[in-house]
Symmetry: C2
Subunit: 224 residues, 2 copies
């Protein structure tokens, strides 16, 4: 029984690692389609959400199986519940990849390249790095990697604010740019959400590894 | 032991109902602050996320306690896992209420009221109705109410698309309107997300009640 439990737990970890790499891949391809204006690639990512959704349901089944199989000990229980949340976060990252690819279908460069393109490419790099590190933290149950990911989130937030502000200024002086600028704001916001979700995953890892809740600034003094 | 389990399960249900009413209340107050331009109200909602976050952690603790307490039977297990997801969805609705209230701090009417205000008020009504019905479906474990919520989501999506399109057209002809229009697009998008999350909750209820997964169009024919 215990051996069967360990076997399924291992299967759950492998499935999450596979799903994480699918989500990472989807974001990477979606952003390549945005930045290189590759419409075929954009179309393929925009249609390719199904495998990630199927994976989510398979992982949910493994979780139900594990919980139904036997009384998990406290540390396994924490791992399983964190896995359930990470599963949900990865599925949502898949949704954001689809949103990004949809923007990829619409975005086209005008006479001169958009000044915000470099910042957005930087955000994309950061967000994917955070996702990859969060998954790495999960694989090795390493809270230090997890905490480093949480710290990276501010940079992405700042870039998102900067890009959004600049694009709003652009729209004011160049009404023709409105549709494209709105689409780039959408890209920026979706990347910011991917980074948030990577942060959630990292927080879950820290939670399992340290059995301590760091989200919602739980370390802050309690309000009176 | 069984009686203790039932007791905590009841506590979990009550906590979720309370959290749902906090989230509903936050969205309602946030939208009142947006539509009546009540800055004090906006400020209070924008700062009031803490109780919902605390509640999320308390519910998570109840879930861990329930799972650790004894081997739940299959139907209880489904209920507990759905509760975990609903908990997460409600916390995210709280986040969107904060976003809405932040828009409430910025939005101000110009000489004439915005034409999209009525559509946004309608979206707000629909999204809150969906949330309230989804929670009702959960309380009574009624899949029919849940399925009705899922069907309402299209109306909100359509209104979001209409409002966003109209505001983009407005920005093109009136560059002065850019900042306010972007803020209204943000309100529209946050309401659309609240409706999505209410839909998630409704789908979870249908899942528990019918033990059938309806999300990701699981009823569609499988791709070849």
């Amino acid at each position: 029984m215990q051996r069967h439990f360990e076997h399924i737990l291992q299967e759950l970890k492998s499935a999450l690692i596979k799903m994480a790499s699918m989500a990472e891949d989807a974001v990477e391809k979606a952003m390549e389609s945005v930045l290189t204006e590759n419409k075929d690639l954009a179309a393929s990512v925009a249609q390719g959400d199904e495998p990630i959704n199927t994976m989510e349901m398979q992982i949910d089944s493994l979780i139900v199986e594990l919980l139904a199989l036997q009384q998990p000990v406290a540390s396994d229980l924490r791992l399983i519940l964190a896995a359930s949340k990470i599963n949900n976060d990865l599925e949502r990252i898949g949704d954001h990849a689809v949103n990004l690819a949809e923007s990829g279908l619409t975005i086209h460069s005008k006479s001169k390249p958009l000044a915000q393109r470099d910042d957005i490419a930087r955000m994309s790099q950061l967000a994917r790095r955070m996702l990859s590190d969060a998954v790495d933290a999960f694989i090795h149950l390493d809270p230090n990697i997890g905490e480093a990911v949480v710290l990276m989130d501010d940079s992405v937030d700042n870039l998102n604010r900067k890009v959004t502000h600049e694009l709003m200024e652009l729209m004011k002086v160049d009404p023709e740019s409105v549709e494209q600028a709105i689409e780039w704001i959408r890209v920026s916001r979706n990347l910011e959400r991917v980074a948030d979700l990577a942060t959630n995953i990292a927080e879950e890892v820290v939670f399992i590894a340290r059995a301590k809740v760091i989200k919602h600034h739980a370390g802050d003094p309690l309000p009176k």
